[in-house]
C-alpha cells in the first residue's frame, strides 16, 4: 500500500518535473521574491537600494504591501492560475483510454487511486508556496525587521485555497474528459466565488455605512430636538432665526434618516441572501486573508484604520459630504472588524465542506464509470 502511494507521488513529481510551466513558475516566484527584497523598511521609513525616505508606519505599510503583493497577488492569483493550468490535465490524462486501464488493472482501489492522484495534484502548489513562504519569511525578517514564523502558515493556507479550485477542476475534468474545459470552467467558478465575495463585501460595508449614517442622523435629530427645546424657551430674535434654521436642518436629517432606514431592510435582506450563498461556496479570498491574521494583530489593524482615518479625514465644512465620507470610512473599518470576527470554521470549514461535496461527486463519477 505504501509502495503504491509513494510510487504515485513520485510519478506526480516526475510529471511536474517534465512540465516546463512548473519550472517557469518556480523561477518567476524566485525572481518576484528577489525583486521584493530590494525594498526594505525600518521604524523610520522605507529604503530601496541606497535610497531612503521617511514614512510613519513604514513597517506596517511594508507588511501591507507584502500581504497585498506577495500573498494576495502572487500566491493567490498568478501562482494559483499557473497551478490550475498545470494541473487541469491530471485527471483527463489519467482517465484517457489506454492510460486508465493500466492503473485500474492494478491492485489499487478506485477511491484510493482517485484520492492519491488528487493529493499528488496539490504537490505543484505546495512546492511553489513553500518556496515563496520560506523566501517571504526570510525577506520580512531581514528587510522588514519582523520575524513572523506564522508566515509559514501560508503553505497550508494557500494549498487549502488552491484545493477548492483544484477539486472543481478535477470534477469538471472527470465529467468532460477535457483539460481545457476543466480549466476554463474552474476559472469561471473562481470568478463566480470572487463576485459573491465582492458582493458580500460591498453589502457588508454598505450595511455598516448605513448603520453609521442612521445613527448619525438619529444623534443629530436628538441633539436638534434638545437644542430646539432650549431655543423655544428663548425670546431672543437671533434664537428665533436659529429655531427656523435648526427646524429645517432637523427636517432634512429626518428625511435622510427615513431614506436610510427605508433602504436598510432591503440591504439587510439582500445581504442575508448573498451571505447564505457565500456561506455555501468556497471563500477563496477570505481563506488567503486568514494569513493576514498572523501578519497583523487586531490592535494593529484598529490602529491602522484609526491612523488612516485621521490622516485622510479632514472636515470639509460640508456636513452632508463629511457624514457620507465618514460613513464610508466607518463601513470600511466595520468590515475589517467583521471579517476578522468571522471564525476560521466558517471561512475554511464551510469551504472545505463545499470541496468535500465536489470531491465526493467527482469520486463517485470516477469510481462508477466504465472506461
Amino acid at each position: 500500500m505504501i509502495e503504491q502511494t509513494i510510487a504515485l507521488f513520485i510519478d506526480a513529481y516526475r510529471d511536474l518535473n517534465a512540465r516546463k510551466l512548473f519550472w517557469i513558475t518556480l523561477i518567476l516566484s524566485g525572481v518576484f521574491i528577489a525583486a521584493f527584497a530590494l525594498l526594505g523598511a525600518d521604524p523610520k521609513g522605507f529604503h530601496l537600494l541606497w535610497f531612503h525616505w521617511d514614512m510613519p508606519m513604514a513597517r506596517y505599510l511594508y507588511k501591507q504591501i507584502f500581504s497585498y503583493l506577495v500573498v494576495g497577488l502572487w500566491l493567490t492569483f498568478v501562482s494559483a492560475t499557473l497551478a490550475l493550468v498545470s494541473t487541469a490535465g491530471i485527471f483527463p490524462d489519467l482517465i484517457s483510454t489506454g492510460a486508465i486501464d493500466l492503473y485500474l488493472s492494478k491492485p489499487l482501489s478506485r477511491p484510493r487511486l482517485f484520492l492519491t492522484k488528487y493529493m499528488s495534484g496539490l504537490l505543484f502548489v505546495t512546492l511553489q508556496v513553500a518556496l515563496v513562504a520560506v523566501g517571504g519569511f526570510i525577506l520580512l525578517g531581514v528587510r522588514g525587521g519582523e520575524w513572523k514564523p506564522g508566515l509559514l502558515l501560508a503553505i497550508p493556507i494557500v494549498v487549502c485555497f488552491f484545493s477548492y479550485l483544484f477539486a472543481i477542476s478535477v470534477f469538471l475534468g472527470i465529467l468532460t474528459r477535457s483539460s481545457i474545459a476543466a480549466l476554463l470552467l474552474a476559472v469561471l467558478c473562481w470568478g463566480f466565488f470572487w463576485a459573491v465575495h465582492k458582493t458580500d463585501q460591498f453589502l457588508s460595508k454598505e450595511l455598516a455605512s448605513q448603520d453609521y449614517l442612521a445613527n448619525y442622523y438619529r444623534d443629530e435629530i436628538h441633539s436638534a430636538d434638545a437644542r430646539l427645546g432650549e431655543l423655544h424657551a428663548s425670546t431672543r430674535p437671533a434664537d428665533r432665526m436659529a429655531v427656523v434654521d435648526l427646524t429645517e436642518q432637523r427636517a432634512s436629517d429626518q428625511e435622510r434618516l427615513e431614506t436610510v432606514e427605508a433602504g436598510l431592510p432591503a440591504t439587510r435582506r439582500t445581504h442575508r441572501i448573498v451571505y447564505a450563498i457565500y456561506s455555501a461556496v468556497p471563500k477563496t479570498t477570505e481563506t488567503t486573508d486568514v494569513l493576514d491574521r498572523t501578519l497583523f494583530s487586531n490592535d494593529e489593524v484598529a490602529e491602522g484604520d484609526e491612523k488612516t482615518t485621521s490622516m485622510f479625514v479632514r472636515s470639509t465644512g460640508n456636513r452632508d459630504f463629511d457624514a457620507q465620507r465618514n460613513a464610508a470610512m466607518q463601513g470600511e473599518a466595520g468590515y475589517h472588524r467583521e471579517i476578522r470576527g468571522r471564525s476560521l470554521f466558517w471561512i475554511i470549514g464551510t469551504s472545505l465542506t463545499f470541496e468535500a461535496v465536489v470531491l465526493l461527486l467527482a469520486g463517485w463519477v470516477f469510481c462508477r464509470r466504465d472506461y
Binding site: D11, A99, D101, L102, S105, K106, P107, D370, Y371
Partner: protein, 384 residues
C-alpha cells in the same frame, strides 16, 4: 503445462454488459481458461472482446457476472496483483523512460523497490529493450512501446497474463520475439489470455480458443476439438462440362441427395472454380462473400448422405465428405473412377482458425458475415 483442473485460472459464467440500456455488449458469456494454458479470444470488431477483458481487469463494471479469476470473484482487487495486463492502445506517461515505466507499474502492483529494480532490468532484457531502457518513451516506436508494454505486464511475475492485441503495430521480428516470450511464459506454468486479430499467431501459440460473436461465445475449445468435427475429405473431379460432370458425380454415388430448398449461399469466385493445389486447400466455410472488387457469385450446393455413411456435399466439381475416416472415401473414389470421371485431387482438409472464425461470424442461413458492432436492444435476443 495445461492443467484442466477444477481450479481454472479464469472461470466466467453469465457475464452480461449493457451500455446505456440499449447496447448489449455481452449477453451471457461463459468462459473457462485452464491454468498454464495459452488461451485465445477471437471475434469480429464490436463482438465484446475488449469489454470482456476490461471486466476481468475491473476497468469496466459488468451488468451481471459470476465466476472467478485465479480463485477469487471477478472484481476482487487484491487478485490483480497476480495478473499482468497489456491493454490495447496503451498510453504510458510520456515523461517516463522504459525502466521507469516498469518500476512505476510494478510498484502499483505492490512489488518492493529492490525486486522492482532487479526485475525491470531483467524484463527489459527479455523483450530486447535494454539499450533503450533509459530513454524517454515519447521517442519510442509503436513496436518498442509494445515490447515495454509486454514487459510491464510481466514484471511482477503474475500467474495470469492478459494481453490485448500484443503484436499490434509490431514488425515481423518483434512479433516472433513476442511469441517467443509468450511461449516462455507458458513454459513457466503461467496462464496467458490473448485477445487478438492475428489468427495465424493465435493458431501457433494457443492451446484453446473462444470465438465471441455479438456478445456470446460462439465456439470454445482446443483447436483439435473445434476442428475435428469440421475435418473432411475433398475429391475434385475434372469434366469438360461442369453441369454434365455434376450429374455424373451424383449418378455415380450411392447417396440420397436432397434437392436444396435452402437459400443459395454466397461463395467467392475463387472458391467456386476448382482450386488448384498450388493455391492451397479451399476453406471449409465457403460462405465468404466475394471481395468488393468482384461480383458476387452464388451456387447451389447439392447435399446428401452416403447410404450408411457420412454427409456429403457437391459444390461445383468438388465433392466434400464430412468425415475423418478414410474408409468411406475409398468407395467413393472407386465409384467415381468406375463412372469414368477423372479425379484431379484428393485431400484431407482440416480447417484453419481463420476458417473457424469466418464460420462463426457467418449467418448459416444467409451466408452474411456478422456486421461489426455490439447487439442493440432490438436484436439482442435473436443472435446466436
Amino acid at each position: 503445462m495445461t492443467t484442466a483442473s477444477s481450479d481454472p485460472a479464469i472461470d466466467l459464467h453469465q457475464v452480461f454488459k449493457v451500455y446505456g440500456r440499449r447496447v448489449h455488449a455481452l449477453q451471457g458469456v461463459d468462459l473457462r481458461v485452464n491454468r498454464g494454458e495459452v488461451f485465445g479470444l477471437l471475434g469480429p470488431n464490436g463482438a465484446g472482446k475488449s469489454t470482456l477483458v476490461k471486466i476481468m481487469m475491473t476497468v469496466v463494471r459488468p451488468t451481471r457476472a459470476q465466476g472467478k479469476i485465479l480463485g477469487h470473484p471477478v472484481g476482487h482487487k487484491p487478485t490483480l496483483a497476480r495478473v499482468g495486463y497489456l491493454p490495447e492502445n496503451h498510453r504510458f506517461p510520456k515523461y517516463l523512460t522504459g525502466r521507469q515505466v516498469l518500476d512505476f507499474f510494478s510498484a502499483l502492483a505492490g512489488v518492493d523497490r529492490v525486486t522492482r529494480r532487479r526485475r525491470s532490468a531483467e524484463f527489459l532484457d527479455i523483450v530486447g529493450m535494454t539499450e533503450w531502457a533509459d530513454t524517454k518513451i515519447s521517442t519510442y516506436s509503436k513496436g518498442m512501446l509494445q515490447r515495454v508494454g509486454l514487459a510491464q505486464a510481466l514484471v511482477h511475475e503474475p500467474d495470469l497474463v492478459v494481453l490485448d492485441e500484443p503484436t499490434d503495430g509490431v514488425d515481423p521480428v518483434g512479433r516472433r520475439d513476442i511469441l517467443d516470450v509468450l511461449n516462455r511464459i507458458r513454459g513457466q506454468g503461467r496462464t496467458v489470455f490473448v485477445n487478438s486479430h492475428a489468427l495465424s499467431e493465435l493458431e501457433a501459440i494457443c492451446d484453446r480458443v473462444a470465438i465471441l460473436v455479438k456478445g456470446r461465445v460462439a465456439k470454445q475449445g482446443t483447436l483439435d476439438e473445434l476442428t475435428v468435427a469440421k475435418q473432411r475429405y475433398e475429391i475434385e473431379v475434372a469434366a469438360g462440362d461442369a453441369g454434365d460432370g455434376r450429374r455424373r458425380v451424383r449418378a455415380a454415388l450411392p447417396a440420397d441427395w436432397k434437392e436444396s430448398t435452402e437459400p443459395a449461399r454466397v461463395i467467392p469466385p475463387a472458391a467456386a472454380v476448382a482450386p488448384t493445389s498450388a493455391s492451397g486447400p479451399p476453406p471449409l466455410n465457403y460462405a465468404i462473400p466475394a471481395p468488393p472488387s468482384l461480383p458476387p457469385r452464388t451456387t447451389i450446393v447439392d447435399r446428401g448422405t452416403l447410404r450408411g455413411g457420412p454427409p456429403i456435399e457437391l459444390a461445383g466439381l468438388t465433392l466434400r465428405i464430412e468425415t475423418t475416416d478414410p474408409q468411406p472415401v475409398q468407395g467413393i473414389i472407386d465409384a467415381l473412377r468406375s463412372a469414368g470421371l477423372m479425379i484431379v485431387r484428393v485431400e484431407s482438409v482440416r480447417p484453419s482458425l481463420e476458417d473457424l472464425f469466418i464460420e462463426a461470424v457467418t449467418d448459416p442461413l444467409t451466408g452474411q458475415v456478422a456486421t461489426p458492432g455490439a447487439a442493440s436492444a432490438a436484436r439482442a435476443g435473436g443472435t446466436k
